[in-house]
C-alpha cells in the first residue's frame, strides 16, 4: 500500500494544475461564461437609510422604460434565507436594516438600462431609530432591529435572545473563577476594538440565475459553497433541492465572503420573473464595500490573571460582536470565539460571554480566520502585557502556558497531538528573538513582536465530503469533487491525493470541473480550512475504493492474492509473479478470460466519503463538552519592524511564521498560504477599516480603502511548518489557509510596543494614529 512506499506526490511541491489556464487568460470565471443573446441584467435599488420601514414602493415609471422587463420587490421573496439563523429576506419586505439593503431589483436588457430605470423607482420610507455600536445595541432600551428574532429558524447550537439585539450568547463557565482571582498575583484588565473590515476579493460577487418555465432553477456563481447555496436558495423559495442546480466557476478570491449566501439569491429572485432568461447580477466595487459581507467588528474585554511565576490561573472575557444588520452566518463566529476564547493557552478557570449583536451597520459574516484574528488581537496583547508585569520574557511565558498534547482545553476537550512549542521555537529563532538590532536611521525605532494562535474549523457537527473517480479509455481518470478552487490550490491537492493513493502518474488525474451540484459529489462548503483534510479524506477513500476493485479483479484474473499486487505508475504489478498489466487494458472493458470464457470486471468507479462523526454538543450554561471541534491547527508569527517617528509610518522588515499543518501535502502551496495570509494580516493591522458614518461606508473604493500593494508588502517573509500528524487527516494533514493571518496583527502591535513603548488597543495601526500617539508621548515627556 502507498503508506509503506515512498510518497511520490504527497509532500511534493508540484506545480498548480490551474496555473497554465490562469496565465493564458483561459481560466473561466463566472463573468467569462457566454450566456447567449437571451441574457438579461439585474441592478438592485438600495436603501439610503440604516433603519426604516418601507411604506410604499412604486415602480411604474421604471417599468415603463424601454428595455425593462420586470421589477422585483420583497413581496416576491417572502421566504427567509441564511446559514445558521434564517434572519433575512432576499429583498427586504417591510423594513430595511442597513444602508445598502436590497429594496427592489430591475431586470433589463442591459446594465445601463437597469441602472437608469432603478433611479425611477419611488420608495417611501419611515425612518426608525438606528444603532451602530454593539455596546449600545445590547442595552435593553436599544432600537430593536429584528423584532421577530424569536420566530426565526436557528441551528440547535445557537442561543438567540428574542426581544433583544442579541442573536447568540455563548457562555463558558469553567473551574472557580471567583476563587481563582484571589490567587492571582498579577492581573491585566483591558478593552480592545477591531473594526469592520472588508475581504476585498479582486473578483466582485457575481451570480447568474435562470428559472425555467418547468420550475427548474440554474444558478452560476462565484462561490465557495455551491451545495450550501443550493440548499439555502431552495429553502428560501420553497423548492426541492433537486430542482436547484448551482454551477460554481473558478473563484477570483473568496476569503469567506463567498461562503454561505450573500447576494446570489438576488439573481434567482429576478430570474423568476423572466422565465427562460438568464439574469446576471454583478456587484460593482462600491456594492462590494456596502453590501457584500464584512468581517464583524469586535469590542473585547479581557481580564487575565496569573501567579507571580507566570502560571495562568484565571481568564474572564466578554466579546461584543458587531454582527451588522444580519447575522445569519456570523452567529457561529461568535460561538467559535467563545469556545476558543482562551486562545492557545491552558487556563483552569474561565468565564466567557460572547455576544453576537445586531447593529444597523453593514451585514457582517465569515472572513479568513472566522473570529480568531479579532480575539487574538486582544489575547496576544494581553499576554505581552502580563509578561511585562511579571518580568518574564514573552516567548518564555507563551512556552510555559501554551496548549500542548494531552492538555484539557477551555471546553474540556483533551488536546490531540500538536506542535505549538515547535512553532514558537522556529519563529523565535528566525526573528532573532532577544537580540535588539539598531534602527536603520536615527529618526526610526525598531522592534520585534511575537504572537501565537489556534483555530479549529467552525462548522456544524457533521459537514460531509464526497468524491468519485472514473476512468477514461487510456487509464487516465476524472476526479469528481465538490470543493472549490479559490486560489488556495484545492484542485492541485485533490489530484496529488488521488494519484498518490491510486498509484497513477499525477498528470493522469483531471478534475471534473466546474463544480456543478447536478453532477459533482457533495461538499458542504470550501471554508474553515477543512478542504485538504475533509475532501482529501473523501478523495483518498475514493481512490482506495477504485484501487481495491482493480486489485481484486486482477487477482482473480491472475489467480493470485490481491495482497501481493500493487499499482505503480498506472500499472498493476505482482510482487510475487512479477507480472504486470496496464490500467488502460482493464478499467473500462474489464478482462477477457482465457479460452473464450467471456469477461470479468467492467468500468471501474471509485467512491469515497468522509464525515466527522464524533463532534458533540457543548453545555449551554458552561460551554463544556467532550469534543466540540474536529481539531485545532496552531502556529506562531514574529514580526520585526521599524517606525518612522517623524511620520508614524511602519515598515515591516521581516516576518517569520510557522504552523503545524500535520502534513504538508504540497509544501509550496503551504508557503503560498502563509505568505498571502501574512500580508493580508499586515494589511488589516496597518491600513484597513470600513469607515462608517451612521452605518454608511465612507471609503467604498480601492483609493479610500487601502489594501497592501506591492510597494507595501514586506520583502522578507520566512515560512516554516511543522508536521505533527492529525490522526484522521490524509497522511496526517490539517488545514492552514485561514490560520496564517490570525497572529499577524497582534504580532505587529507587540512589535510596535517594543519599538515605541506605546500600546494600541484599537486596530488598525495607521500612520496617523501612531504619529498622534508619538506626539502625545513627546508631550508627556516634556
Amino acid at each position: 500500500m502507498s503508506d509503506q512506499q515512498t510518497l511520490r506526490y504527497v509532500g511534493k511541491s508540484v506545480p498548480r494544475l490551474d496555473a497554465f489556464d490562469k496565465v493564458t487568460g483561459a481560466a473561466e470565471y463566472t463573468d467569462d461564461v457566454a450566456f447567449g443573446p437571451g441574457l438579461l441584467y439585474g441592478r438592485v435599488l438600495r436603501s439610503p437609510y440604516a433603519h426604516a420601514l418601507i411604506k410604499r414602493i412604486d415602480a411604474s415609471k421604471a417599468l415603463a422604460v424601454p428595455g425593462v422587463k420586470a421589477v422585483v420587490t420583497g413581496k416576491d421573496t417572502p421566504g427567509f434565507i441564511g446559514l445558521y439563523l434564517r434572519d433575512r429576506h432576499i429583498f427586504c419586505t417591510d423594513r430595511v436594516r442597513c444602508v445598502g439593503d436590497s429594496v427592489a431589483g430591475v431586470i433589463a436588457a442591459s446594465e445601463e438600462i437597469a441602472e437608469n430605470a432603478m433611479r425611477l423607482i419611488e420608495v417611501e420610507y419611515e425612518p426608525l431609530p438606528a444603532v451602530f455600536d454593539p455596546l449600545q445595541a445590547i442595552k435593553p432600551d436599544a432600537p430593536l432591529i429584528h423584532p421577530d428574532l424569536g420566530s426565526y429558524h436557528v441551528a440547535a447550537f445557537l442561543l438567540p435572545k428574542p426581544g433583544t439585539n442579541i442573536s447568540n450568547h455563548f457562555k463558558v463557565r469553567k473551574g472557580d473563577i471567583d476563587g481563582a482571582w484571589t490567587k492571582c498575583e498579577v492581573i491585566v484588565d483591558e478593552w480592545y476594538r477591531t473594526p469592520q473590515i472588508q475581504h476585498v476579493p479582486l473578483e466582485p460577487h457575481i451570480a447568474v440565475g435562470r428559472w425555467d418555465r418547468s420550475g427548474e432553477v440554474t444558478m452560476w456563481s462565484s462561490t465557495q459553497a455551491p451545495f450550501t447555496q443550493r440548499n439555502l436558495i431552495a429553502q428560501a423559495f420553497g423548492l426541492s433541492q433537486g430542482r436547484v442546480r448551482v454551477i460554481g466557476n473558478l473563484v477570483g478570491g473568496g476569503f469567506g465572503c463567498k461562503a454561505g449566501v450573500t447576494m446570489e439569491g438576488l439573481s434567482v429572485a429576478m430570474a423568476k420573473l423572466v422565465p427562460g432568461h438568464p439574469v446576471k447580477v454583478r456587484f460593482t466595487r462600491e456594492e462590494e464595500f456596502f453590501c457584500a459581507s464584512t468581517r464583524q467588528g469586535l469590542v473585547a474585554h479581557v481580564k487575565l490573571g496569573a501567579t507571580k511565576d507566570g502560571k495562568l490561573l484565571a481568564l474572564e472575557v466578554e466579546y461584543f460582536w458587531d454582527g451588522g444588520c444580519y447575522t445569519e452566518y456570523g452567529t457561529n463566529i461568535t460561538r467559535a470565539a467563545g469556545y476558543s476564547s482562551t486562545g492557545p493557552y491552558v487556563v483552569p478557570n474561565v468565564k466567557t460571554d460572547s455576544y453576537c449583536v445586531y447593529t444597523n451597520n453593514p451585514s457582517a459574516g465569515p472572513m479568513r480566520g472566522f473570529g480568531m484574528p479579532e480575539i487574538h488581537w486582544s489575547i496576544e496583547q494581553t499576554i505581552d502585557r502580563l509578561a511585562e508585569r511579571l518580568e518574564i520574557d514573552g516567548v518564555e511565558l507563551r512556552r510555559m502556558n501554551c496548549v500542548k498534547t494531552g492538555d484539557e482545553i477551555v471546553t474540556g476537550m483533551i488536546m490531540h497531538p500538536i506542535g505549538l512549542t515547535q512553532c514558537i521555537d522556529k519563529v523565535a529563532e528566525a526573528i532573532g528573538w532577544g537580540k535588539k538590532a539598531a534602527p536603520s536611521a536615527p529618526h526610526r525605532k525598531r522592534g520585534k513582536g511575537i504572537a501565537i494562535m489556534w483555530k479549529a474549523p467552525a462548522m456544524p457537527h457533521n459537514p460531509g465530503s464526497e468524491a468519485w473517480l472514473v476512468f477514461n479509455d487510456d487509464g487516465t481518470l476524472n476526479l469528481g469533487v465538490g470543493g472549490q478552487e479559490l486560489g488556495q490550490g484545492a484542485f492541485t491537492i485533490a489530484a496529488q491525493i488521488a494519484a498518490e493513493q491510486l498509484g497513477v502518474p499525477l498528470d493522469w488525474v483531471r478534475l471534473a470541473r466546474p463544480i456543478d451540484t447536478r453532477y459533482s459529489p457533495y461538499e458542504w462548503q470550501t471554508v474553515a480550512s477543512r478542504t485538504t483534510w475533509s475532501m482529501g479524506n473523501a478523495i483518498r477513500a475514493a481512490a482506495s475504493d477504485a484501487r481495491k476493485q482493480i486489485l481484486d479483479l486482477v487477482a482473480q484474473f491472475w489467480d493470485e492474492s490481491a495482497d501481493d499486487l500493487d499499482i505503480r505508475d498506472g500499472e498493476v504489478i505482482s510482487h510475487k509473479s512479477e507480472r504486470s498489466l496496464s490500467l488502460r487494458d482493464m478499467v473500462i472493458g474489464g478482462l477477457r478470460l482465457p479460452g473464450d470464457q467471456g469477461f470479468i470486471g467492467g468500468p471501474i468507479m471509485g467512491r469515497g466519503k468522509f464525515m466527522p462523526t464524533y463532534v458533540t454538543d457543548l453545555d449551554p450554561e458552561t460551554g463544556q463538552g467532550k469534543r466540540a471541534v474536529v481539531h485545532y491547527t496552531v502556529g506562531a508569527e514574529a514580526v520585526e519592524l521599524e517606525v518612522d517617528t517623524t511620520t508614524g509610518q511602519v515598515e515591516v522588515v521581516k516576518v517569520a511564521a510557522a504552523f503545524d499543518v500535520g502534513k504538508a501535502v504540497n509544501p509550496g502551496l503551504v508557503v503560498g498560504q502563509i505568505e498571502g495570509g501574512v500580508v493580508q494580516g499586515l494589511s488589516s493591522a496597518l491600513f484597513e477599516q470600513l469607515q462608517l458614518e451612521k452605518g454608511r461606508p465612507l471609503n467604498a473604493s480601492f483609493v479610500d480603502y487601502r489594501i497592501m500593494s506591492a510597494m507595501d508588502a514586506p520583502k522578507d517573509i520566512i515560512s516554516e511548518y511543522v508536521e505533527v500528524g492529525q490522526d484522521d487527516g490524509p497522511w496526517g494533514a490539517r488545514g492552514v489557509g485561514e490560520h496564517t493571518m490570525v497572529p499577524t496583527a497582534p504580532a505587529v502591535a507587540n512589535a510596535i510596543y517594543d519599538a515605541l513603548g506605546i500600546r494600541f488597543n484599537e486596530m488598525p495601526l495607521t500612520a496617523e494614529k501612531i504619529y498622534m500617539a508619538l506626539q502625545e508621548q513627546r508631550g508627556a515627556e516634556d
Binding site: 496565465v23 487568460g25 481560466a27 477570483g252 503560498g672 498571502g676 473604493s701 517573509i717
Partner: protein, 158 residues
C-alpha cells in the same frame, strides 16, 4: 449614442469594429471580441485587473474608451506567448507559483511584461513600483516579484 467605426490591432490581428462612444476598451475586449482573459475588478482604474498594453504602455482598459484605441495596438494576456508556448513571464509565474485565485494575474502579467520590455534587468524596488497599480489579495506579492526576477533572468540567458 453615437457609434464609431474603429480599427484596432489586438494581439497582432487587425479588428474593424463599431463601438458606441461610451464603450470602454475593457468592454470592447471582453464583450465584443471575446477576450475574457482581461478582468474587471473595479471599473474605476484602481485595481489593475484590466491592465492591457496600449501601444506598448500598460493602461487600465476600464479607463480607456474604445474609440481612443482607434489605430492603436493592444496586447492582452491572450497575446502573450504563442500557441502552447508561454512567454517567459507566464512561464516564470507558473514555475514560481505566483498564481493563486488568478484574477489579478492577467493584469499583473501585462504590467510585468511592459516593465521587462523597457528594462530587462529591473531591481526589486523597480519591480514593486511597476506593479503598484496591480492589486493582489492572495499571494502577498512575494512570489510575483520573484517570478518577474526569474523571467528577467530567463530573458538574459536567451
Amino acid at each position: 449614442m453615437a457609434v464609431h467605426s474603429i480599427t484596432v490591432k489586438v494581439n497582432g490581428a487587425e479588428e474593424r469594429v463599431r463601438v458606441p462612444s461610451n464603450m470602454t476598451l475593457l468592454r470592447l475586449l471582453r464583450e465584443e471580441l471575446g477576450l475574457t482573459g482581461t478582468k474587471n475588478g473595479c471599473s474605476a482604474g484602481e485595481c489593475g485587473a484590466c491592465t492591457v498594453m496600449l501601444n506598448g504602455q500598460p493602461v487600465n482598459s476600464c479607463m480607456v474608451l474604445a474609440v481612443e484605441a482607434d489605430g492603436a495596438e493592444v496586447t492582452t494576456v491572450e497575446g502573450l506567448g504563442s500557441g502552447d508556448e508561454l512567454d517567459v513571464i507566464q512561464q516564470a509565474f507558473v514555475e514560481v507559483g505566483a498564481v493563486q485565485c488568478g484574477f489579478c494575474t492577467p493584469g499583473m502579467l501585462i504590467s510585468a511584461r511592459a516593465l521587462l520590455n523597457r528594462n530587462p534587468n529591473p531591481g526589486e524596488d523597480e519591480i514593486r513600483e511597476a506593479l503598484v497599480g496591480n492589486l493582489c489579495r492572495c499571494t502577498g506579492y512575494k512570489p510575483i516579484i520573484a517570478a518577474v526576477q526569474r523571467a528577467a533572468k530567463m530573458m538574459r540567458k536567451r
